[in-house]
């Protein structure tokens, strides 16, 4: 029954599924690691136990999310070979070292010092513990550096030559690592991860404020998160715009799909909403603002913007996906900026922590970062189709010589496994949130034992003094 299944489509779905699942966790842990470092720093500087208690609560959530990120990440390191072996063969000379550097400079660092971060209380000095937190935080960013460099090279390849044997050979490593779209994609993604974490923290802080639980902790959470919303969310708009202009230069078809524009024209309108119809090669029911697209993209109301019809149909990306995901991402970005504005106004009126409707608002936006990150990645990954290496190699040519059957079965296995693991992870994170920071634990761990003797004498009644 599986013989009729298209291996290319299945391999694409499998990769899209495993990578989408994976990116949720780094998007959260990159921000969380940095925030934990800030919390521990504040604690060491001020001695205020609120920070220590917040750290203790969030490091557990971090551990769950990081664990899921690791196991889903190990899968990714094999996906290139299992499903895209022709790509691995042809692009291995260029891509391989980038991934190798990621393992050597980031993965070991994160994995080793995560152990110290989680289990090293009482075994290393507070300074060394803080150093471990910082190292893990830096490790997550180094990891993002290499993997985004590799991804960006596939989007905007340079610094290589095609050999007589059809393989790609590197000619300039600096050009490969710092390819044109990399600085923008890297900055955009790191900021996205920070904002994702900030809105999770804000949502949970708002939940505590709403329930009037852990109010002192919740004020720190909401306060710190809103600093991010006020200052970093608008920065993201700027960086996103620069990223878009860079894409216009190197991948104009992607931008045309994002905008839903089919005809090349001067004074192109901004299509707010509409229904991109690939069959008819037009955007139906379009609601447009005249000339705005040209203004945004070329900074000139009469600038020329290329439409999708410039490319033959078999070189156009699936437009509807790109079009809609782009609107979801930008829409959420706008909501985040709006949140920052509202928070600033409420703060100046000294009502930031006791405005009911704002608490609802923040709770509603808790998962917004994840949705925006996924939507953004859908834009950039679907928008570059049909190319796996832009203008060099097509995705359909990259697939492994594996039949539809094993791919379908393994895809089903991944879906079931991830559903179980993800469900359990969310459940345990939910329970950690329900328990909250600073509550004295009845039992330490889950085996009914009171606090371990090593820690107990140091622990004051209201919570841990030694994080």
């Amino acid at each position: 029954m599986f013989d009729t299944l298209d291996p290319v489509l299945l391999a694409r779905i499998q990769f899209a599924f495993t990578i989408s699942f994976h990116i949720i966790f780094p998007a959260f842990t990159i921000g969380l690691a940095s925030w934990l470092a800030v919390l521990e720093w504040r604690w060491l500087r001020t001695g205020n136990t609120i920070y220590a208690e917040l750290y203790r609560m969030w490091v557990k959530i971090f551990a769950v999310a990081f664990g899921m990120g690791v196991v889903s990440g190990v899968v990714m390191s094999f996906q290139f070979g299992t499903n895209w072996s022709v790509f691995s063969d042809i692009a291995g000379n260029v891509m391989g070292p980038l991934l190798g550097y990621e393992v050597l400079t980031a993965f070991f660092l994160e994995a080793s010092f995560l152990g110290v971060m989680l289990f090293g209380w009482n075994r290393v000095s507070p300074k060394m513990h803080f150093a471990s937190t910082v190292i893990v935080a830096v490790g997550t960013i180094i990891s993002a550096f290499w993997i985004l460099s590799a991804n960006s090279w596939m989007q905007t390849p340079q610094g290589f030559r095609e050999g007589a044997d059809g393989l790609l050979y590197p000619t300039d490593w600096l050009a490969i690592v710092f390819n044109p779209s990399f600085p923008f994609r890297f900055t955009h993604m790191i900021i996205a991860a920070y904002l994702t974490t900030a809105f999770v923290v804000a949502g949970i802080g708002a939940f505590y404020l709403f329930r009037r639980r852990h109010v002192r902790h919740a004020r720190v959470m909401v306060g710190m998160a809103m600093i991010m919303a006020v200052f970093v969310a608008p920065t993201q708009l700027l960086v996103g715009d620069l990223h878009g202009l860079n894409t216009l230069e190197h991948q104009p078809a992607k931008v045309a799909a994002m905008e839903g524009l089919w005809e090349t024209q001067r004074g192109a309108p901004l299509v707010l909403f509409g229904w991109p119809d690939q069959e008819r090669q037009e955007t139906r029911f379009a609601l447009e603002i005249p000339k705005l697209s040209s203004l945004i993209l070329t900074h000139d109301p009469d600038g020329e913007v290329k439409g999708l019809k410039e490319w033959p149909r078999d070189e156009q990306p699936p437009v509807a996906w790109v079009f809609w995901c782009f609107r979801i991402m930008v829409g959420i970005g706008m909501l985040m900026i709006l949140t920052g504005l509202m928070a600033a106004v409420l703060f100046l009126r000294k009502r930031l922590f006791d405005t009911r409707w704002f608490q609802y608002w923040c709770m509603a936006l808790t998962p917004s970062g994840f949705v925006a990150v996924l939507a953004g990645w859908f834009v950039t990954e679907i928008g570059r189709q049909p190319w796996i290496i832009y203008n060099v190699m097509r995705t359909a040519e990259a697939v492994s010589p594996v039949g539809g059957q094993p791919i379908a079965l393994s895809l089903a296995a991944f879906v079931v496994t991830y559903a179980v693991v993800f469900g359990a992870g969310i459940y345990y994170i939910g329970r950690l949130i329900a328990k909250g920071p600073g509550d004295p634990e009845e039992a330490y761990g889950a085996h009914g034992v009171k606090r371990p003797p090593l820690v107990a004498p140091e622990v004051a009644d209201e919570g841990g003094s030694h994080v």
Binding site: M68, D89, G92, P97, S112
Partner: protein, 338 residues
């Protein structure tokens, strides 16, 4: 474009590095997978907590060596990566699924209350599945992979046969030996004496399977037979099986005289020697009996770039890995760590 090609034998160095990375993975993740294999047989819940705590700070770093093996293969020998991954599509996928189930159990188990049992079994079954698949991958590899041109040309189920099932089971006992001797070192009391008994129990099976593999490989391939049994090779290579046999005797004696550290390190010794034996037999193949490491080597520029990074980073990685083992030295407690 800078390249070290003119000065050193890049493919050779990378072959050595990949072999080392895989070896480190087998030893390091081997003992924590072994703990997972022995998990349900522990005498009490408290023992299981100790077992879990003895590896909790390390498992993540240990598994990273697998990523380095996979990533390193992709980087240094992309052709081998591109042939082996489709050939081993199903066992690799199953191994990854096993690693997922056991990996998340570390976090979930200590947070669960009623569902604790589920994560105990998730940890055990995941470890077992990952180990069997690694053993079967080994069994499939030594038998050879069918290749045409630059890609895998065999069938989806080539990897499964009686021989690979045997090596799958063999590795379960091998990792159980590493796991149990690790526990002898890292625990005390009831857990330790149980680990001692487990270690001496699996030791016999490990010896049996090593003998079976050692006898079967020369029978399977003439080249391997000629390599081991021709003069003067037989004299040079004789120390490998002899030392292995000696280590078995020492481990057996140590387990019964109460030594705590030596059994673990001598179990590692057995793995090193077995690995050395396999390496000698499979030289110079990277895709056994089809593609040699020279044929599969990445461009010299690519190997050079990563070699520079490896030369700088690998000692650093090893140093802080050692530091982490030092921080968590001593006996494991049964208390939840954080």
């Amino acid at each position: 474009m800078f390249s070290l090609e003119a000065f050193i034998d890049l493919p050779m160095i990378w072959y050595g590095l990949i072999i080392t990375a895989v070896m480190l993975y087998v030893i390091l993740d081997g003992f924590d997978l072994g703990v997972g294999i022995l998990f349900p047989f522990a005498p009490s819940e408290k023992c299981r907590d100790r077992m879990m705590n003895s590896i909790a700070p390390f498992w993540d770093g240990n598994e990273t060596w697998l990523v380095l093996g996979g990533g390193g293969l992709f980087a240094a020998f992309p052709l081998a990566y591109a042939i082996l991954m489709p050939a081993l599509y199903i066992p690799v996928t199953l191994m990854l699924l096993g690693l997922i189930f056991r990996g998340v159990a570390f976090e979930f188990r200590f947070k669960a209350r009623k569902s604790r049992r589920i994560w105990d079994y998730s940890f055990h079954v995941g470890s077992l599945l990952a180990t069997i698949m690694q053993g079967m991958i080994l069994g499939a590899l030594v038998q050879g992979v069918s290749v045409s041109g630059r890609s895998f040309a065999g069938g989806t189920f080539d990897w499964i046969n009686a021989y690979s099932v045997m090596t799958g089971v063999a590795l379960v006992f091998g990792y159980a030996l590493l796991g149990s001797t690790w526990l002898v070192m890292k625990t005390d009391g009831i857990t330790q004496s149980w680990a001692r008994r487990s270690a001496s129990y699996v030791l016999g099976y490990v010896g049996l399977f090593i003998a079976v593999v050692s006898i079967s490989m020369p029978i399977m391939k003439d080249t391997i037979r000629d390599l081991w049994f021709s003069l003067p090779n037989v004299i040079y290579l004789l120390p490998v099986p002899l030392t292995t046999a000696l280590l078995f005797v020492f481990i057996w004696r140590d387990l019964h005289t109460g030594r705590e550290y030596r059994p673990f390190f001598m179990s590692i010794g057995i793995f090193l020697l077995g690995y050395l034996g396999l390496g000698i037999s499979l030289w110079p193949w990277i895709v056994p009996h089809a593609v040699s490491f020279r044929q599969a080597a990445a461009a010299p520029e690519s190997q050079s770039l990563l070699l520079v990074g490896t030369a700088v980073m690998l000692p650093v990685v090893l140093a802080y890995t050692a530091y982490c083992y030092y921080v968590f030295r001593g006996k494991a407690s049964h208390e939840s760590g954080y």
